[in-house]
Structure formats: structure tokens, C-alpha cells
């Protein structure tokens, strides 16, 4: 069912090593700041790994991902606050709700193509933003202040967390959020790899690269695009819920344009459409952000320079560049062994896979 091959084994080995390292990090006594930043990295990497399915693999110019993220976060928070249910349960419900929400968005947008999809999905996100910040009606009173249903411009808070404070104590609770977000990223990444290498992934790519040919082979463009939209929404919504539970607050700023551009830059830097691209991009952009924190005045220029450099020097993103280096290195090693015949055979088997 799923395509396998040398790259699959390489990716699996690399993934296992990466997970082992990430699991070990909290035991090495890092600072709380480091743990917090890695938690945020896991959350953003989850979002962009799913966005990559829609944007990079299926070629849909959707900017709705942060709207879905916000839906998941607000749904989790609201269920915790208004229904008083456990945030764990709320998180799962929010994930499922995010699928329905994305289907509604998809039904409205996917009849369109190209930049029109981008415009309409961005408009939906901005409408959500406006609905939240113009929510001034008093939903309930708390002391002398009235609380809005969505939290309004202040943000939605006081819906609790995942219980790690009680479970692990105030000094260690961040590790609970850390492992939760890591677990989410692992699931989302496995899901993403599975989709990309399944027949569904080939269908998405066919409709991206040559829609007329794909349709002539019996692929229903609208149905497949709606499918990828819905599938990517589940983990995005969960990421929103984890974000809300981690920070114990969620506000309209998650729908802001600077954050949207920050996440898009992760995909561009990492390599659109590549399985490792979003994770690598998230890591590079967050590292760049970290490195430039002491140079506030030129930070935005630094971002710009980084993105321009990546686009010009590595048009297939950092993941594409690494892929080329990997292939070159492998050829050199095999050539040293005199195994050019085996290399040719392997090239044949892996040829299709390199395109991902």
C-alpha cells in the first residue's frame, strides 16, 4: 500500500534517532526556556507539517491553516471554560471539530483555484480575527468585569491546563507539555509521511503537477482536495488545543498576519512539498529567530535575507539541499566501493521517491 525503499529506511532511522534525542533532552537538565522553546517548536512544526500537505503536496494555496489552528485552540479552551470538561477530552473533540470546520471552509473555497483560494481562505481567517476582537457583548460577569464569549481582545483564559502542574509539580510541569507536544508532532509527522507515500499522496501530487492529466485518469479534483483539507485539519486543530493548554490562554493574535508569515516562511525555508521540509524549516527559522534576538533592530531584515538566500541558493528548500548532499555523498561512498552497478539499480528503485 505504501511505497517503501531506501529513502523510507533512511527516514525511519533518522526519525527514530531524532525522537530518541528529543526524549532524552529533558533528562540532560536544560533550562526551562529551552524546554519552552522546544515545546513551541513542536507545536509550530506540527502545524506546518500539516499545512505542507495542503500547500506543498496538494498544491492548494490555502491560508486557512491558522484559522483551523485557532478553531482548535478556542474550541478546547471554550469547552474547558464553559462546559467544565477535562482539557484532554476537549482536545480530542476540538480535533474532530476542526475536521468539520475545515470541510466547511473547503466546501466554500475549493471550487476556486490558485490565488483565489488564498484570498478567500485569508478572508475567512481575518473574519474570525475580527469576530473575536469585536466581541464586546458581556457573556458573563466576573467581579466588576464582563467576560466576552471568545475572550475578545484580551484573550480567552482560565480554562485550565492538562494537569501536569498537579501531576509533576511546579518545577517539572513544563516537561509534561514538552512530551505531549512532541508526541503530537511524531503522530502528525508519521501521518504526513504516510499520506505523502500512499496512493493518496500520488493523487494529490498528480492534481498539483498536472491537474488535467490527473482528472483524465479519473481523479476528482474537488473530492481529493477536500480530503486533504480535512485530513490536515485534525492535527492542526490538536496543535491549537495543545497551544491553548500549554499557555493556558488563547487570543486573536494567533490569527495575526505576522504569525501567518512566520509559519509560511518555515515551509519556504524547509522546502515546500518535502516530507522533512516543514520540520527542518521550523527548526531553522526558530533558530534564526533565536540567533537574532540580540539584534532586534535588524531582526526583520535578517529574516528577509535568510528567506531570499534560501529561495535563491536552495530553490527546493533546505530539505531539498540536504537531499542533494545526501545523494552526492551516497554516490561518492558507493563509487569508492566500486559499486556503481548497485548504485544504478538502487537509483531505479528510488527514482520516484526522490521527487517527494
Amino acid at each position: 500500500m505504501f511505497e517503501t525503499g531506501p529513502n523510507w529506511r533512511r527516514d525511519a532511522a533518522f526519525g527514530v534517532v531524532l525522537i530518541a534525542v528529543m526524549i532524552a533532552i529533558p533528562f540532560l537538565g536544560p533550562s526551562r526556556y529551552f524546554i519552552g522553546q522546544l515545546t513551541l517548536f513542536f507545536i509550530w512544526a506540527t502545524v506546518v507539517s500539516q499545512w505542507n500537505l495542503v500547500f506543498g503536496v496538494a498544491g492548494i494555496f490555502s491560508l486557512a491553516q491558522m484559522a483551523i489552528f485557532a478553531f482548535g485552540g478556542f474550541a478546547t479552551g471554550m469547552m474547558g471554560l464553559y462546559l467544565g470538561i477535562s482539557l484532554w477530552f476537549a482536545l480530542v473533540l476540538a480535533g474532530v471539530g476542526s475536521i468539520l470546520f475545515s470541510i466547511i471552509i473547503g466546501l466554500a473555497c475549493l471550487r476556486l483555484r490558485g490565488p483565489y483560494v488564498a484570498l478567500l481562505t485569508l478572508a475567512i481567517a481575518q473574519v474570525m480575527y475580527l469576530l473575536i476582537i469585536t466581541d464586546t457583548a458581556c457573556f458573563y460577569m466576573e467581579g466588576v468585569t464582563c467576560r466576552n464569549f471568545t475572550g475578545g481582545t484580551r484573550g480567552l483564559a482560565k480554562f485550565g491546563d492538562f494537569g501536569f502542574r498537579e501531576m509533576l509539580g511546579r518545577r517539572e510541569y513544563l516537561k509534561g507539555d514538552y512530551y505531549l507536544s512532541l508526541f503530537l508532532l511524531v503522530l502528525a509527522t508519521v501521518f504526513s509521511f504516510a499520506i505523502i507515500r500512499s496512493p493518496l499522496g500520488f493523487a494529490f501530487r498528480a492534481l498539483r503537477d498536472n491537474p488535467e492529466y490527473g482528472v483524465s485518469r479519473g481523479l476528482n479534483r474537488f473530492k481529493y482536495q477536500l480530503l486533504v483539507f480535512a485530513m490536515s485539519a485534525f492535527f492542526t486543530g490538536l496543535a491549537g488545543g495543545v497551544f491553548a493548554g500549554h499557555f493556558r490562554v488563547i487570543g486573536a493574535n494567533v490569527l495575526s498576519l505576522p504569525l501567518l508569515l512566520f509559519l509560511i516562511s518555515m515551509m519556504v525555508v524547509g522546502g515546500l512539498g518535502r516530507a522533512w521540509g516543514p520540520i527542518l524549516g521550523a527548526a531553522l527559522v526558530m533558530l534564526a529567530d533565536e540567533g537574532m534576538k540580540d539584534f532586534v533592530e535588524i531582526r526583520n531584515m535578517g529574516y528577509g535575507a535568510l528567506i531570499v538566500a534560501i529561495v535563491v541558493l536552495l530553490p527546493q528548500g533546505a530539505a531539498g539541499g540536504l537531499e542533494q548532499v545526501w545523494e552526492w555523498g551516497r554516490r561518492q561512498v558507493l563509487a569508492l566501493w566500486g559499486g556503481t552497478g548497485r548504485l544504478a539499480a538502487r537509483r531505479g528503485a528510488a527514482g520516484e521517491e526522490r521527487r517527494e
Binding site: S31, R32, Y33, F34, G36, Q37, L40, I133, T134, D135, T136, C138, E142, G143, V144, T145, C146, N148, G151, G152, T153, R154, G155, L156, A157, K158, R170, R171, F243, F247, R248, V249, I250, G251, N253, V254, S256, P258, L259, K293, V296, R299, N300
Partner: protein, 454 residues
């Protein structure tokens, strides 16, 4: 006797050099004009007993928006903290240890920016205090980060949520201080202000009606609701409570409602200067005999530049900011001479004052505490709670259990126990607003607005 902690104990010997006295310090520093402003800070120089600030530096953090929509204010906060640290260091720092300000950018604010920035200050720089202007969008979620570290966190978020959070668990949030009154006090303060104007004969209210117009942001809504809820207490009746969708430039429908039932006062709690200027430009050609009060926007030059003559007579207020008295003027001069005439000392005064009284409290407590040194930080926070500080913003005294600055004259009748809720009036659109209340800080008399006096 001052007990000094490990790391702050002064080595006796060659390294120890004294300056003769506080008077000499001020003279030497060229701060003769420091005058009354130095009265509280002079206490620090006395405690320091003439020692120079040559010990191990104490990192002091500022989590301020250096980029994003609030960057202009953020740079003022940064300047204010830098100026305070410099002055404190000239007085010998804290028991001989100089202050070293470090900053993290809270960018567009919100919990995802504020919490990592504060955690970075605590982990990387190991700051002994975080002293901010304002940050929005975290809804006090950052208090837990502070509670885990225990260092004093002094901010000016002007947010009533602070009361609820600290009040809910004063022991856990012992080091979280809001150094200005909550926005709620704008509401009741306004009702008291117009009542005082009427009672003292400075203005004769044509009726007891107030029209309230609010924007859509929580800040505006909380103030509008507080006005509405406190109106009856001062004998006023709300004739109109209107929520407008912002941004707004077309005020026709709202003005028509106001003209249909002219109130004694119109209070607009929406704060964007260009929107407010548009209101005045549309109101003045066909005015009602009402006072016009507006929130925040008239503090900014853009309001007067857009509205021009139409803005003369407008009232506005701030619960925190440098006063225009002798102490304030000295501060303005020092601030502008260091950072240039285009710098904004009004907002920079927030971390400036806070840093001064944190330094005094720390010196009195025997030194500062690093993250995790809860016992020492408890002592510092206890001093902050108990001390009353007279700075460039007036008096700072914290109300317990929620540890927010008390506002004067609404919360206390004693000007020495509260931060003045300053009411200003634009009397000439070419100049900044004049401070007309409260006593004894006012620098100009209230004037009947031109659309009423004719």
C-alpha cells in the same frame, strides 16, 4: 544595620572607595536639579552609605515590545529603565552592585511571545527583577512563569485581571505587582471628576445625563461598563450607551442620537486618535452643550494634528504617567537630554519609577534575589508592599492583597497614598494637554469648552 547577602558583601580594602555624601553625589553627578525627585532615591544613596557601584552587576530585565505595533511605547519603556539604572548606579547601585539592564522583545505580544521572552530573561540572563511597561494578550498567564522563579515582576498592564489573578492566590503570586491602577478606575474616576467640577462651580451641568460611547476592545468596554455602573453612585444617569464598530470615521448615526437627547457629558472610551479626531470634527459644527471626554487618543499628537481647532476643550485622562510638576519637569529634562527631544518620557516614566522603588526595597531588604532565591525575593517584595514611593508619577502605594497601585483621588483622598488619576484638557491644539486635576498636581485651570462658551 543592613544585612547583606552572599555576593553582595563588600570587600573591605582597596576596592572600596567612598563618595562623601548624598549631597556630594548629586553635585558630582550634575544632578542638582534632581531635587525633590531624589528624595526617595536619596534614601537609596543613604543606605548605600557612599559605596560606589563596582561589585558584581545585577541583571534587571525588561520584557518590552521592541518591534511590532507597540514598538514606539516599547522603546520608551526601554529608555526609562536604562535611565533609572544609570541613576541608581550613580548612587552606588544596590549595596555597591551596579544594575545591568537587559531586554527581550515581546514583539506582537500575546502569551506565545511574552512568556518565552520572560523565561529567557530568567534563564539566560538570570535577572533579579523584570520591570516592564505594558504587554497585552497574555491574560496574566506569565504570572506562573514568575511564580516559579520568584523574582519581582513589576508591570503597568492597567488590567483588572491582575486583581483577580493575584487575589486568587496571593501566596503563589507574591512577586507579581501591577504598578498602576486597573483600567476599571478610569470609569469611576471620570464620574467623580465631572461631579467635582459641578460641585465646585467650575462647570454647571445642564442636566444629569451622560452619554457613553465605547469601542469594541476590552479596554474600552471595561471602562465604559465601569462608568455605567458607577454613574448612579455619583447621581448621574446614562442617557446613551452605544457600542461602535472600530475603526470608525463616520460618526453621523452616533451624533444624531446624542443630539436627539443632549447629555451633560459625552464619554468616548474608544481610544484610536484619528477616529476620535474625526468625532470632534463632526461634532463641533453642530455641538450639544456637553463636556467631551475621550480615552487615551488625545495624549498623542496625531489627535491634535488631525482635529486641529476642533480638539480645543477636549478632556482626557491617564491613570499613570509623569506629572508636570517640578519633579516631573526635572525628569523630562533628564530623559530628553539623554534620549533626544523626540523621545517620549511620559511612557518611559513607568519602568523608571518602578526600577527606583524596587532598588530601594532591595537595598532595604539586604540585597536582591536571583531566580529561585525565594527567601530573599520574599523580603524584597515585602518591602515593595510596605514602602510608599514618591516618584515622577506621584505616589506609588500597593493595595493588598492584589498588589496593584492605589489610585488617587477615587480610591484614597490622600494624595500621598495614591497614584494621581490625571485629567487633562486641550486648551490650545498647538500644545500638549494641560493638567487640570487632581489637586495638588494641576498646572492649569479647567476651561469651559469653546462649543459651550461660544
Amino acid at each position: 544595620m543592613i544585612i547583606r547577602r552572599r555576593g553582595t558583601r563588600r570587600e573591605e580594602g582597596a576596592r572600596k572607595r567612598f563618595i562623601a555624601s548624598r549631597r556630594n553625589f548629586m553635585k558630582g553627578a550634575g544632578l542638582a536639579g534632581f531635587g525633590a525627585a531624589a528624595m526617595s532615591s536619596g534614601l537609596l544613596a543613604d543606605i548605600n552609605d557612599g559605596v560606589r557601584a563596582e561589585g558584581e552587576p545585577i541583571p534587571v530585565g525588561g520584557c518590552v515590545p521592541l518591534t511590532g505595533w507597540a514598538a514606539a511605547d516599547g522603546l520608551s519603556f526601554k529608555s526609562g529603565l536604562e535611565l533609572a539604572c544609570e541613576e541608581i548606579n550613580m548612587m552606588g547601585g544596590i549595596l555597591g552592585r551596579p544594575l545591568a539592564p537587559v531586554f527581550e522583545d515581546s514583539k506582537e505580544q500575546g502569551a506565545d511571545n511574552i512568556i518565552p521572552a520572560m523565561q529567557r530573561l530568567l534563564d539566560r540572563h538570570e535577572v533579579h527583577a523584570i520591570i516592564n511597561g505594558y504587554n497585552t494578550g497574555a491574560v496574566t498567564a506569565e504570572y506562573d512563569t514568575i511564580a516559579d522563579a520568584g523574582v519581582p515582576y513589576i508591570h503597568h498592564n492597567t488590567d483588572i485581571v491582575h486583581h483577580e489573578t493575584v487575589g486568587s492566590d496571593p501566596e503563589l503570586y507574591f512577586s507579581n505587582f501591577m504598578a498602576d491602577p486597573a483600567e476599571y478606575w478610569y470609569g469611576e474616576g471620570f464620574m467623580k471628576f465631572i461631579s467635582d467640577l459641578n460641585d465646585t462651580g467650575k462647570w454647571e451641568a445642564p442636566n444629569r445625563k451622560v452619554a457613553i460611547v465605547t469601542g469594541s476592545q476590552n479596554y474600552s468596554v471595561v471602562i465604559a461598563n465601569a462608568m455605567r455602573d458607577s454613574a448612579e453612585k455619583y447621581g448621574w444617569e446614562i442617557s446613551l450607551y452605544e457600542t461602535v464598530v472600530v475603526p470608525i470615521s463616520e460618526w453621523g448615526p452616533t451624533l444624531q442620537k446624542i443630539r436627539n437627547d443632549p447629555p451633560a457629558a459625552i464619554a468616548i472610551t474608544h481610544w484610536v486618535p484619528q477616529d476620535l479626531a474625526q468625532f470632534m470634527m463632526q461634532f463641533v459644527p453642530n455641538p450639544t452643550p456637553s463636556l467631551v471626554y475621550m480615552q487615551y487618543g488625545p495624549l498623542l499628537a496625531a489627535f491634535r494634528e488631525i482635529g486641529k481647532e476642533a480638539t480645543n476643550g477636549v478632556l482626557f485622562a491617564t491613570v499613570v504617567g509623569a506629572l508636570q510638576d517640578e519633579i516631573g519637569q526635572d525628569y523630562f529634562q533628564r530623559f530628553n537630554s539623554k534620549f533626544g527631544e523626540s523621545a517620549s518620557p511620559l511612557t518611559g516614566s513607568q519602568p523608571y519609577d518602578s526600577c527606583h522603588y524596587w532598588a530601594i526595597a532591595s537595598a532595604m531588604a539586604g540585597g536582591t534575589g536571583a531566580p529561585g532565591e525565594f527567601e530573599q525575593n520574599e523580603k524584597v517584595c515585602d518591602r515593595i508592599r510596605r514602602n510608599i514611593y514618591r516618584g515622577v508619577q506621584g505616589a506609588t502605594a500597593f493595595v493588598l492583597p492584589y498588589q496593584a497601585a492605589r489610585t488617587y483621588p477615587t480610591e484614597t483622598r490622600d494624595a500621598s497614598l495614591g497614584m494621581p488619576h490625571q485629567f487633562l484638557q486641550i486648551q490650545n491644539h498647538l500644545e500638549q494637554g494641560k493638567l487640570i486635576a487632581p489637586e495638588p498636581y494641576e498646572t492649569a485651570a479647567f476651561q469651559i469648552p469653546p462649543w459651550i462658551s461660544g
